[in-house]
């Protein structure tokens, strides 16, 4: 069984079921023509059918013997977590500081550089972004307690 296909197929079948349930609560046909539920109902049904085809194919497909790489996905998810934290901090400390922290985390933890290098890259990147986008191009970026 191809586990990835099996579980992603099941998840998409669940999403399809959710779409169909929601669509049934909206008008299917109105006197003027199709209602808000018409299109979602049909693509929701298609999603369920295709997901089940994927699940069935993964069950019939036999076992897959693949070396499982955990380090790569861990690094990718660590980057994603750093991004999520920096977005969560946008309103609190502003764009410049949260971007500097994000850069520091990538350089220091993902690429193992010395903290001085990471801090230098973080501060320089944040300053460059502030000057280019906020000052020169006038893009409105969330500001922190220090005003940037």
């Amino acid at each position: 069984m191809k586990k990835a296909d099996f579980w992603s197929g099941l998840a998409l079948a669940g999403l399809g079921a959710y779409i169909v349930m929601q669509a049934r609560a909206w008008d299917y046909l109105t006197p003027e023509g199709p209602g808000a539920g018409f299109f979602p109902l049909w693509y929701g049904i298609a999603m369920i059918a295709l997901s089940l085809v994927l699940v069935a194919a993964s069950v019939r497909g036999g076992g897959e013997k693949r070396a499982v790489d955990t380090l790569g996905p861990t690094r990718a998810l660590a980057l994603w977590a750093a991004l999520a934290v920096s977005v969560a901090l946008l309103k609190v400390i502003g764009f410049a500081a949260s971007f500097a922290l994000l850069t520091y985390a990538v350089v220091a933890f993902l690429y193992g550089k010395r903290w001085t290098v990471a801090a230098g890259v973080g501060i320089a990147s944040a300053a460059a972004f502030h000057l280019i986008f906020a000052v020169a191009l006038g893009v409105s970026l969330p500001a922190g307690p220090l005003g940037f």
Binding site: G35, A36, F39, A46, W80, V121
Partner: protein
């Protein structure tokens, strides 16, 4: 407006100093992102799209298109010097380009790539200029049923060639349709899939999804490995970058082959520049008097695919600018850009916005000349970009992505959605779900639903309207055939072989 008159007007637009400057910035950025593995034109255009909102649409289109075709030029540099394609269309260039570089002929390989790109890129623009206006005039006869059928055909083509598994490609497209449905239904004012969140009432901004799935999803996939490639040295001086007369003689058919194959493949939705470059390489090898040289440093093995992937750009803009149907992820983002600038992509675009269409065509002629001039003498300088450490490059991409999203609405909620869609983009890569059908489903979903509902309003709910009009019936039949044909084993084997190659 005739072609000569249109082109004259286009050059008046494109030669304005402001537009020339943005054309130059576009092709320069395109070359740089083409050189950098892990950052393609789709991601770059998505990231920079919000910054174009204050520009004139013609200027913004000239710049974004410059990124699109400029990336095709830049993509060859990494293929030749690093054996790593800068973008997918340059995969096949690795075969002979890297071998030439290993034999000490990196300069000639880069020179041939630049010349082939220039010749074929120019032919592609010529094709766009000649084919687009009559096609747009023909499409003026289309009504809602034809548009629904056309979008269905476009999506079917993209699904057909998007990945190894058609089921996964179809599912990705359906997820795109679902995301497109989020927000307030404009026909009935019903809130759909908003999860009770007020900020979802306007739906999810296309830019957020595109940047998350393409740009950050790609960075997450790239960051998995800490290794960096070894760059082969580039000879300095223009003389060392010019191919020999014998090289040019060997490549003369490849220039023509790349130009024609690239343009024709580009016009077909879903085929894209990667397939164009493979087809062109395969054709070149098939008709060559020395096929055994291919894969061992044959100059025509560089010229044919590099030409094809540049000519494809002109072809891909034909359905986008005449029918409002994109054929790839990058053209889908360009379509979204046209909509965001307040234009209505479709058969009336050329008639209503001649400045934009002809300005773009003229700027592409100029941009191709700029790229040739940039790429021959400045390749050694561009190659230095490959020495930029990834631990600096990746945070920069994340930063530009965040700024891109924040500049659309200034909403931290959109930034949170970006985080969610970047995880979706990464998961799709890991689970082998192609992202182009999702983006196309998202871009076309709204128009497709509107066309279907308008068709059924016209017929008072009678579905036969979709098949009772000849053009609509033919396109829907083709779409069904495309989706059903892979059930035939022989066809599916051909399809999978084409995608795997």
């Amino acid at each position: 407006m005739d072609i000569i008159g249109g082109l004259w007007q286009g050059f008046m637009v494109a030669l304005a100093p402001y537009n020339l400057l943005w054309c130059f910035i576009g092709v320069l950025l395109g070359t740089l992102v083409g050189i950098m593995p892990g950052l393609g034109p789709a991601a770059t255009i998505a990231m920079l799209l919000p910054l174009t909102f204050k520009m004139e649409p013609a200027t913004a289109m000239i710049m974004l298109a410059g990124i699109y075709y400029g990336a095709k030029y830049g993509g060859s540099t990494t293929s030749i010097l690093l054996n790593v394609p800068g973008e997918s269309a340059s995969v096949v260039t690795c075969l002979d380009g890297y071998q030439m570089a290993r034999q000490g002929r990196a300069g000639a390989a880069l020179g041939i790539a630049a010349i082939a790109s220039f010749v074929a890129g120019t032919v592609g623009v010529l094709g766009l200029m000649l084919v687009a206006p009559p096609l747009a005039r023909f499409a003026l006869t289309f009504s809602s049923p034809e548009y629904f059928a056309l979008m269905s055909l476009g999506l079917a083509m993209v699904v057909l060639l998007a990945g190894k598994s058609m089921v996964k490609a179809l599912l990705a497209m359906l997820v795109g349709l679902w995301i497109a449905s989020m927000g307030t239904d404009l026909f009935s004012s019903t809130s759909r899939f908003t999860f009770g969140n007020m900020e979802m009432l306007d739906g999810i901004d296309f830019v957020v999804v595109a940047i998350g799935v393409f740009a950050i999803g790609e960075v997450m996939a790239s960051v998995e490995s800490r290794e960096e490639g070894q760059v082969l040295p580039v000879p300095k001086g223009l003389r060392n970058l010019l191919p020999t007369m014998q090289d040019m003689k060997d490549c003369r058919f490849a220039f023509v082959n790349g130009s024609v194959v690239g343009f024709l493949v580009g016009v077909l939705p879903g085929a894209g520049s990667t397939i164009a470059s493979f087809l062109s390489y395969g054709l070149e090898k098939a008709v060559s008097k020395r096929p055994e040289m291919f894969g061992h440093g044959a100059p025509e093995g560089v010229a044919a695919p590099e030409g094809a992937n540049n000519s494809e750009t002109g072809g891909a803009l034909v359905p986008l600018l005449t029918l409002g149907i994109p054929g790839s992820g990058t053209t889908a983002i360009l379509l979204a850009a046209l909509i965001l600038w307040g234009l209505r992509p479709g058969p009336l675009l050329i008639q209503d916005n001649p400045t934009l269409f002809w300005g773009l065509v003229a700027s592409m002629y100029i941009g191709n000349v700029m790229l040739l001039v940039l790429n021959l003498p400045l390749v050694p300088a561009f190659a230095q970009v490959l020495r930029l450490p990834v631990y600096i490059l990746y945070p920069l991409i994340l930063g530009v992505s965040l700024v891109g999203v924040l500049s659309v609405s200034g909403s931290v909620f959109d930034a949170s959605m970006l985080v969610a869609f970047s995880l979706l983009g990464y998961a799709m890569r890991k689970l082998d779900y192609p992202s182009a059908p999702l983006i196309l489903g998202l871009v076309l979903g709204d128009g497709m639903e509107r066309a279907l509902r308008q068709s059924l309003m016209m017929s008072q709910g009678d579905l036969s309207i979709l098949v009772s009009r000849p053009a609509s019936a033919i396109m829907l039949a083709l779409a069904v055939l495309i989706l059903v044909a892979p059930l035939a084993r022989g066809f599916n084997r051909w399809r999978q072989k084409a995608i795997e190659s």
